[in-house]
Amino acid sequence: MNDIIAQLRENVIQGRMTRDDEGIDDTLTGPGVVELTQMALDNKLPVKDIIADGLTAGMEIVGEKFNAREYYVPDMLASAEAVSEAMDILKPHLKAADLAMKGNFAIVTVKGDIHDIGKNIVAILLKGAGYEVFDLGIDVPTDKIIDYVRENKPDFLGLSALLTTTMLVMGEIIEALKSEGLRESVKVLIGGAAVSKEFAREIGADAYCADGFEAVRVLDSYQAS
């Protein structure tokens, strides 16, 4: 394996986004994921290898460590965030390499709700897993969300709400998508402390995701099918 790609993988495992990042335990120094990705491009290494042997291979090891309880959620997030930054650098080169992102995912905290920690974590994890993520922000009115879907045609729409009052807006959004003839064009995933699998079924969402990891699993399952 090319030395730059090997370093890239190790830095993904350590979740070191840049050379200034101390990582988990200060064992790695020098360039981080962002710098190494750029170096790989500068050295004309195949984009496919950069992604498969550097970023994805690193994330697989992170996943294994997470499952073995050696890594915790912050470790997973740091690695995912580093990978998502790398993907931003690689994005202009994907088409030439006959590669594409896994899909477009628009995520939003619904009207009346300003909570965004969970939404941001989901966004980081999905981006790190190879999805193109568009964060529409917090407290976003339903008509703006509908307009966005109409104009940008995302593959997935993630709705987030923390409160039992604002979770009701999710149902209104799905009804609005239906009435605008957009419901079949986008899969709607919901998440947040107030909602549940039963609520997702009740309002006609495609899936409920308990956390960001489940969101990645759900979206990957659509890829597989």
Binding site: G23, D25, Y72, P74, A78, E81, N120, I124
Partner: protein, 513 residues
């Protein structure tokens, strides 16, 4: 390097400086008048020779004396009692160094209990969800044995927060007698933990054998003096204000050997001491000062701990109420008194009135464990696993207590606020604020691996039923499966050859069985 314990910054104090002095003056007044009743003739003679006002009580049976102790003798004793006491350990890294002026708290197990509480888990199916199995403990009490004491010491060796071991199981096997009890309880303890071991002496006739055992293990007389792997505790003053004959005799003998000793007093407010706070404090302080004074007259400089175990009387049974909030108040006050004298304090917390582990037990013990630890006693006899006051030991509860003390130790760590920290967090804030996610999560990683973050509660379940007891029980089994560094074969052989009364079944090398 000795164990770190936890250094309490700005210890919690209930009394003003003037109130401490008021109690001190009241205690001196008690020591002068009425003085103490002394049932030990040698102690009465020693006090008289030192200048105390000693008078025989006419036609008393048993014979006893009134000992009135002048302030001068108390002052001299406070002056000669070491301000720093070291309690050694088989593993020198487990030594405890206690300075009377430093509020470094060491956590030690609790007192000698008669009952060992087994936990037998029954499995039930949840009615609303038959796929869920619930494990509920049935607690089964039985008389403690020497095997139980070995098991307790073994568990204690592996409890991270536990700094030392007081033999906490009264060994009641059929072949245990008054004459062989001391050597067996100490060997069972010392052979199963490398931490400091403390015990009371059952029979003065066994002191030589106990000392010899300790010397063999420590590596000789001088080695034992440098590294006192055992210490003894004497409750020589029975409340109110009575020098007990046999314990006082044992105490004086122990003092001549130079082994660290706790002078302990355990009055009950409302029965053996006045119910009012000022009353129990003045009395317990007088009782402990009287003991310390005797010890220092017998052997100047003998290492002594100021031991206080006050309790409120239960109004329903007139027994000790260790779970009462007043008990914690008295205890905290006593720590302040010990600090006034600069003598290391042996204190108590975590004893529960509850008979089994559960909510009452957790509430009572955690309340006193937090508050008393905050007061900064050096030697906190903190009742790992003790229930029903001092009569029951539950190893399951001891494992739960270890989790409590982990929380308390994290809580009491000193704040880290300095220019270096501020510079670091300013950099973090300036880095994070412009990012889309505005999360500091990546900075957790290094910190959480540095030991600076308190761990999650180790027995947390993830469903709607309580899994704490079952998980703690599994943890206990894991601890028992971990090896212990026993006393080596050669020393064990010497001990069994040279010290009479040891039960052959305690020899793990099989010799003499």
């Amino acid at each position: 390097m000795p164990r770190a314990g936890i250094l309490v910054q700005n210890p919690y104090e209930r009394l003003t400086r003037e109130q401490v002095k008021t109690i001190h003056r009241a205690s001196l007044e008690i020591l002068r008048d009425p003085g103490l009743i002394c049932f030990n003739d040698r102690a009465a003679d020693i006090f008289a020779a030192a200048g105390a006002d000693v008078s025989s009580v006419e036609k008393s049976d048993p014979p006893h004396w009134i000992v009135k102790i002048p302030e001068r003798l108390v002052d001299e004793a406070i002056g000669s009692a070491p301000k720093t006491v070291t309690l050694g350990a088989r593993n020198p890294d487990n030594a405890l160094v206690m300075n009377g002026d430093e509020s470094r708290v060491y956590f030690i197990t609790g007192s000698e209990t008669n009952i060992w509480l087994d936990a037998d888990f029954q499995s039930y199916t949840k009615k609303s969800d038959p796929s869920v199995e619930i494990h509920v403990p049935e607690f089964i009490p039985r008389r403690g044995t020497v095997a139980d004491l070995c098991m307790s010491a073994h568990i204690s060796e592996h409890l991270d927060t536990l700094d030392g071991f007081i033999r906490n199981v009264n060994i009641q096997d059929k072949d245990i007698t008054e004459e062989n009890k001391d050597v067996n309880k100490l060997f069972a303890s010392l052979n199963n933990t490398t931490k400091h071991v403390q015990a009371g002496l059952t029979s003065l006739s066994q002191l030589d054998n106990v000392m010899k055992m300790a010397e063999i293990i420590a590596g000789g007389e001088e080695a034992l003096r440098q590294n006192p792997i055992i210490s003894l505790i004497c409750c020589l003053v029975k409340s109110p204000l009575q020098f007990v004959d046999d314990t006082t005799e044992a105490f004086m003998e122990i003092c001549t050997r130079g082994i660290p000793v706790v002078v302990s007093s355990a009055p009950q407010a409302g029965s053996t001491a006045p119910i009012k706070e000022a009353g129990i404090l003045a009395q317990i302080n007088a009782e402990v000062l009287a003991g310390i004074t005797l010890g220092q007259i017998v052997n100047r400089g003998t290492p002594i701990l100021y031991g206080t175990v006050p309790a409120k009387t239960r109004i329903d049974t007139l027994s000790d109420s260790y779970g009462a909030v007043e008990t914690s108040q008295y205890t905290i006050d006593c720590t302040q008194l010990a600090r006034f004298y600069g003598i290391p304090n042996y204190s108590t917390s975590g004893v529960s009135d509850a008979k089994v582990p559960g909510q009452q037990s957790s509430i009572e013990r955690l309340f006193s464990n937090i508050t008393v630890t905050m007061s900064g006693p050096q030697f906190l006899h903190c009742a790992y696993g003790l229930l029903d006051c001092n009569s029951v030991f539950s190893p399951l509860q001891a494992v739960l207590d270890d989790a409590h003390f982990t929380m308390i130790k994290y809580f009491l760590r000193s704040p880290r606020i300095d220019d270096g920290e501020i510079n670091e967090i300013l950099t973090q804030i300036r880095t994070v604020l412009p990012t889309p996610h505005k999360l500091f999560i990546s900075y957790i990683r290094k910190v959480m691996r540095s030991g600076l973050l308190s761990p999650l509660y180790p027995f947390e379940g993830d469903r709607e039923h309580d899994t704490v007891f079952h998980m703690a029980h599994e943890r206990m089994k894991e601890l028992l499966a971990k090896p212990v560094g026993h006393i080596d074969r050669e020393k064990t052989s010497r001990i069994f050859n040279e010290i009479p009364g040891l039960l052959p079944r305690l020899n793990i090398y099989g010799e003499g069985r």
